[in-house]
């Protein structure tokens, strides 16, 4: 049973009626009656709703045909939720709808807006039908309102949850992009890090690097942090752990491009520099890596 919401109709209804509003049987019967009305007048009410959507200039990212198609689905799901008093199907539909319209640029206020418009259109229709019988109108609204509110809530929350999921997915993608593990020679990987490293990114970096060492059978890794302005003690420790974990996989790590600030951080937190192999810049780091791997670079032709 949907929770009863307090409304101005309540006190008037309670005062003189003697109808047991808590009786779920009576309420269910009223719901059935109202659902029947909504189904009978489906075509007309749906059209009214679509017109109101156009009036209020919502869903401008979609075409008229698309709005009509979605409106039909929403209307039917709405009525079904009212009828069955279960909201799982509606929740699933809301997420499905969100998945489709979010890439089209539909905003939260638009989705909430159209659901509330539908709620109003249906409510007005009920007012019109039962205007002659104030008692009955109140009872019908008592049955309708809590369910309608729950529906609006379900759709809005479903939409927002889908948006949040998309944002998380995009953040993950951005993180992956910003720490590419690149193979520049046989057995030699480079990990250029740019920007801010927070503990989460540091962790993701380490995992990616270790997987890369295994996949590429790397023996030397050059981690270049020229593009990192600053690093706190936590992240510096992560870096040391990355070096140690790489060694456990048989790879040597050379860290290059330490800024003066980062050099200071490392000394301050007491990093055992014997454990860390560092070289000034990326070029120097690659040259040392090549030496370690037994490469020698020589020019074949005199440069012009």
């Amino acid at each position: 049973m949907a929770k009863r919401e307090h409304s101005p109709h309540d006190s008037a209804a309670r005062k003189g009626q003697g109808v047991n509003l808590a009786s779920s049987e009576a309420s269910s019967e009223l719901l059935r009656e109202l659902v029947a009305h909504l189904r009978q007048n489906r075509t007309q009410l749906r059209e009214e709703w679509v017109n109101r959507i156009a009036e209020t200039r919502l869903l401008t990212a979609m075409t008229k045909e698309e709005i009509f198609a979605e409106a039909t689905l929403v209307y039917d799901s709405y009525v079904e939720a009212l009828e069955t008093e279960t909201f799982e199907a509606l929740q699933a539909y809301a997420r499905n709808l969100s998945e489709r319209i979010i890439p089209r640029g539909v905003e939260t206020h638009e989705v909430v807006g159209i659901v509330l418009l539908l709620r109003d259109v249906l409510a007005r229709s009920l007012f019109a039908k039962y205007q002659a019988n104030f008692k009955k109108l109140n009872r019908i609204l008592d049955a309708y309102e809590p369910a309608a509110n729950r529906i609006a809530n379900t759709v809005a929350v479903g939409f927002v949850q889908e948006r949040e999921r998309v944002i998380r997915q995009q953040q993950e993608a951005i993180r992956e992009l910003s720490t590419p593990v690149l193979q520049v020679r046989e057995r030699l990987l480079i990990l250029p890090i740019i920007g801010v490293i927070d503990p989460q990114r540091a962790r993701q970096l380490t995992e990616q690097l270790l997987r890369g060492i295994r996949t590429n059978r790397a023996k030397v890794v050059v981690i270049d942090i020229t593009g990192v302005a600053a690093m706190d003690a936590t992240v510096a420790n992560h870096l040391v752990q990355t070096v140690e974990a790489s060694r456990l996989l048989g790879a040597t790590v050379i860290v290059t491009g330490l800024s003066p600030e980062i050099a200071q951080t490392l000394v301050t937190i007491g990093v055992d520099l014997g454990k860390m192999n560092t070289v000034g810049d990326l070029q120097g780091g690659i040259e040392q890596a090549e030496r370690l791997l037994g490469y020698k670079v020589a020019t074949l032709v005199e440069p012009r």
Binding site: E207, L210, K219, Q241, T242, E244, A245, L248, L249, G250
Partner: protein, 120 residues
């Protein structure tokens, strides 16, 4: 649990299984050194590819094995530590310091080849 130990010339290869108890590890510690003595091996490769967890006891035992084998003049190389295991180990401060490590059996043998070449 029996740990298979194979002989490849002067190198012994011990393949650790997934769920080794503390008792198994203690047994291995002395067992491996006894094999090194018996075959006059110059090196032992301990393959931990199958281990998806490495706790502090296992880590310490590996270090002890390496030290004991070094006292017999032989080298130990730990190979096959999985990325997830390596990550967990360093977070717990288990770095296997002083023990040689390599990516896998192939790399371990290549490392030993290099080492034997330069020391001969």
């Amino acid at each position: 649990m029996e740990v298979p130990i194979l002989k490849q010339g002067a190198v012994l290869i011990a393949t650790f299984q997934a769920a080794l108890s503390d008792a198994d590890l203690k047994h291995l510690r002395i067992g491996l050194v006894q094999q090194v003595v018996r075959f006059r091996s110059r090196a032992v490769i301990v393959d931990v590819t199958a281990m998806d967890v490495m706790d502090s006891f296992a880590s310490r035992t590996l270090r002890e094995i390496a030290h004991m084998i070094r006292l017999r003049g032989a080298e130990t190389v730990i190979v096959g530590i999985q990325p997830e295991v390596a990550f967990a180990m360093v977070q717990l401060g288990l770095t296997l310091e002083g023990v040689a490590t390599a990516l896998d059996l192939e790399e371990g043998l290549a490392y030993l080849n290099e080492k034997f070449k330069t020391t001969n």
